[in-house]
């Protein structure tokens, strides 16, 4: 993985898949019509807010001479205050996300990347700052999209992902996308750290329908995607109710954790359209509130 040749091959493969990924994400994000949202009050910004008579203390540089020339008193041109949020994404790069229940559906990793990118693009259009965990602080501008897409496309060798939220700025927002099928302890720790910094955010659980239904029968050996963990059963069908119960427990745990910290949780299936969680995420982020 570290040889330059392998890196190059990987990069080229990525480069080939990136435009498609980006195009998908762009198409998705264009469904959200957004603009730079004003704060409905004067402040630092680009858009005109109001003219007001100059008061002592105003810098001479702030006086709008063109407006002042039309009357006797000097006027100051105020702009609307525009502030942007810093949103940090963590998308699970682990092997388990590579699972694909059927050829007609994308892998969970792909859906997660599309979702993250689309959300990022729409946020960038809205003037927010966006970053990926591990890539430094969030930055504004569409130039962020390309490095972000590259960062999202790199899988790791781990079976299950362990989220970290070190790069989240204080009082910023975080979006964690994963299947949350591994150990939940690292997540809990990361969320606790983030909550200390006043960070709120979203947990998006991406699952394949197979994982939701467990449509298996007979003597089966289940292996993790990396092959590291195996479980053998004589009759898979008998396990179904107990598996479904455990999955429901897992979802309940997530919801409980999020509620405690003021985060939002959703579960998305790869056979459902990606727009639904996107709209939800946008709403839940509440950046324009």
């Amino acid at each position: 993985m570290t040889t330059p040749a392998a890196l190059r091959v990987q990069a080229e493969n990525l480069g080939q898949s990136l435009p498609a990924l980006l195009a998908q994400a762009e198409r998705l994000s264009s469904a959200l019509s957004l603009g730079l949202h004003g704060r409905r009050r004067a402040g630092a910004g680009a858009d005109f807010w109001q003219y007001r008579p100059a008061v002592p203390g105003d810098s001479a540089r702030t006086i709008d001479w063109r407006r002042s020339a039309r009357s006797d008193a000097p006027f100051v041109r105020e702009r609307e205050w525009q502030a942007s949020q810093g949103v940090t994404f963590w998308v699970d790069p682990a092997k388990s996300m590579q699972f694909q229940g059927a050829a007609s559906r994308p892998t969970k990793a792909h859906r997660a990347a599309v979702l993250a990118l689309a959300l990022a693009i729409s946020l960038l259009r809205g003037g927010e700052r966006v970053g990926v965990e591990g890539q430094g602080r969030p930055r504004a501008g569409m130039a962020q999209v390309q490095p972000m897409a590259q960062a999202l496309g790199t899988p790791t060798a781990a079976e299950f992902g362990a989220p970290s939220l070190h790069d989240v700025i204080a009082h910023g927002r975080a979006v964690v996308i994963s299947d949350f099928l591994g150990d939940l302890a690292p997540l809990q720790q990361a969320l606790a750290e983030a909550a200390d910094k006043g960070v709120r955010g979203l947990l998006v659980q991406v699952l394949d329908p197979v994982e939701e239904d467990f449509p298996f029968d007979g003597r089966t050996i289940f292996q993790s995607i990396g092959g590291g963990i195996a479980f053998e059963t004589q009759e898979a069908g008998d396990l179904r109710p107990r598996y479904l119960a455990r999955l429901a427990d897992r979802k309940a745990d997530l919801a409980r954790m999020a509620r405690a910290l003021g985060w939002h949780v959703t579960c998305h299936h790869t056979d459902a359209p990606a727009l639904v969680p996107l709209l939800w995420a946008h709403q839940a982020l509440g950046v324009h509130q």
């Binding site: 003597r219 089966t220 050996i221 289940f222 479980f231």
Partner: protein, 925 residues
Amino acid sequence: MFAALTFTQPLLLVGLIALPVLWLILRAIPPAAKRRRFAAVMLLLGLTDDQRQADRTPWWLLVLRIVAVAAAVVGFAGPVLNPTPARPGSGPLLVVVDGGWAEAPDWASRRARIAEILAQAARTARPVALISLTDPPQTPAFQSADVALARANATDPAPWLPGQMAAWAQALPPGEFSSFWLSDGLAHDGRAALQAALAARGDLRIYQSPAAPLALLPPQVKDGAVTVSVLRPLGGPQARIEVIGRGPDPSGVDRELARFVLDLAAAETTGQASLSLPPELRNRLNRFEILGQRSAGSVTLADDSLKRRKVAILSGGSAKEALTLLDQTHYLRQALAPSTEVIEGALTDMLKASPDVVILADVARLTQPETDALADWVDEGGLLLRFAGPRLAASDLSRAEEDPLMPVRLREGGRELGGAMSWGDPRPLAPFPEGSPFHGLAVPPEVTVSQQVLAQPDPDLTTRTIAALADGTPLVTRKTLGDGQVVLFHVTANAEWSSLPLSGLFVQMLERLAVSAGSEPPRPEALQGQVWRAARVLDGYGVGKAAEDLPGVAGEVLGAALNAGPAAGLPPGLYTEGGRSLALNAVSADTVLAPAVWPAGQIIEGLQATAAQALKGPLLALALCLTLIDILAALWLSGRLPAFVRRAVPAVLLGLALSAPTPQAHAQSLPTTSDQTAIAATEGVVLAFVRSGDAALDTLSEQGLQGLSDRLAERTSIEPLAPMGVDIETDELAFFPFLYWPIAPGQPLPSPRAYDRLNAYLRSGGMILFDTRDGDISAGGAATPEADTLRALAQGLDIPPLDVIPQDHILTRSFYLIQTFPGRFDSPILWVEAAPLQADAAEGMPFRPQNDGVTPVVIGANDWASAWATDDYGAALYPIGRGEGGERQREMANRFGINLIMHVLTGNYKSDQVHVPALLERLGE
């Protein structure tokens, strides 16, 4: 039915004991677990199974597997249904086949029986010899049964019957051996001897089919009716046998001309039917055959004996009623009446009846229309037979110069021998010389000639003499005239001048001249000294085929065979000599078919046998099928069937499609080479050259034609494709409008078949440019090896009269106006088809009207290919002349080539310009 089931390897059946063990082993193995990738495996860890799933193989799968193994074990044990009972004896085995036409109808079952016997011998590794009694006797060698089997499969019945059984009895191999004898059930000379000899060597078994062969005897002509007889060896129940007569219809197509039913009464061995046919139909019949019988014996060929020739007799003298015996034509009529239709009357009337022969007995004077009509008739293939007499001797016919209807010039007066006023005695005949149609006929000493007309000693008198007196004086002379011939007997047709008409020799001579044909088969003496050739021969099944490669047969041998029947080297068929034909039939008129008589105690078996049916193959196939089903079932049980089907089914289908292509599909999908050639040659105009066999010359021809094709494409609207080489022996010529044929010295001559094709090509409008490529040395008229080769080549070609190309030939103006035709050499002589003689140039026109036809050949020596040849870049390949003049010559060569191809493709269209003034004049009006 299983009573007759045996095993070749019964010990292997012990393997069936292992089946219960297999049952236990198979039961213990659960189906393999499915492996699945599953991301949520963490959620499963720690769960335990409530119940153990049935890890045993399903019972039906077990049964399937047990049956498969059982089928394999039983299959390998070699079960045989209806096994042939083992033959006693294990030593060498001699298989004897009669092999005559009598076995042809059921030859297939006989061959199968032989194959079965040989296969059995092969199983026990017995050495085998296979002999056919129709072959010449020779001691057979014992060999492997496989070799004998291959021979047996390639053997067909001979179109004759076995005749040398006694000799075969002497030629048997030494030592002990057992024998199988497939007999045709007919009595043959020496059968008892051979049977005794075989029985003495060891076990002898005889097979004989209960079906008796039918034989058709040669047709006999009695009182104008054709009688056909059918023969059978044993009197069986009543039978109705259909016989058909075949022959060519007026357009030459073989057709059924007559069909009649012949009744064989119960217990009778022969049956007859006679039918009367109009002479025209009867003369066309060339074979009779029994419907539904496939053997040479059920076919009989008809020859001249069935034909009745029409003979027109014209006598010079007015008939004197009192003197019948002195009548000129009395003896002729007596000789011809039994076998021919004699017509008499006025000559012009008789010619209208299209007789085969016209006999003029002492006729000297014919009117001019009569002479012309007679000459035309002879020219078309008639035979004119003339006899001398007092009138002819007295006339001045053919005196000063040869009359067209007389073979020789005659001296005045004739001569008289042995009379009161002459010195010599009447002269006997000299033996007939070789080459004469009478050669081989015995000359009776009592035949003498006392008076005759004499021939002038002209240069070709010797060659025209076909019979002479002892002193060498010509007695019968003959010359050919067109397709026919004129024969003159220098004596009278009555006994006045000679005793010839009184002798049997006279009748034989008439027969030899094909004037008459005896209805009886000729005696061997009558065929003495002649060489007959087989025209068509029959095979054992009675199918006729053209006999091209058979050598000629001496007449006496053929005559002997007519009595003794055909034999090896002398197959039945139609033999011809001169204008006569003679049929040698498998069954002659005196053939007797008698059933074979075997000594008491000899076991005779019928041919029918139930074939042993080996069940090994079907059982192993069943085992294989069950195994395949088992694979599918196992896949299905483990849930992999859908994936397997998805991947494997297309591959299996593809494999099936590739491994079992039907021959028809194969033939349709892959066009043969000749089809490809034909398509390539007909996609456009293709210039072609004849492959000479000399690679360098062929390359030169191809380059030359390529250069010419390029010039044509540049300058004219003809855009030829790449030139092709043709092999005149094998390739189809009809695709090519033009053939360039460079002559190499010593080129092999084409085969007759190739000549036929070349002539058809020339007749159908093709053109060949012969190039002897020696214009530098042959210009002065010197004979060169190439010219000799061309002469030899062209001998077989249908080439019209040639002429040196005239100034106004169409070739001089078909595209360019040229007057020379140079190639690499500049010989002015170019040969083309001669212009019609009557063509004259019209007033004011520069050339004669020659509006028809393209000259089929152009012959020259200028090595045009070298002048035309260019390389891939269009640069000339061979130097011509020097400098500017040479280039000019090359240009003229190219122009000649273009004119030539234009001439080939447009014909004489440029010649139509002669009509331009007339057309203009008409338009003006």
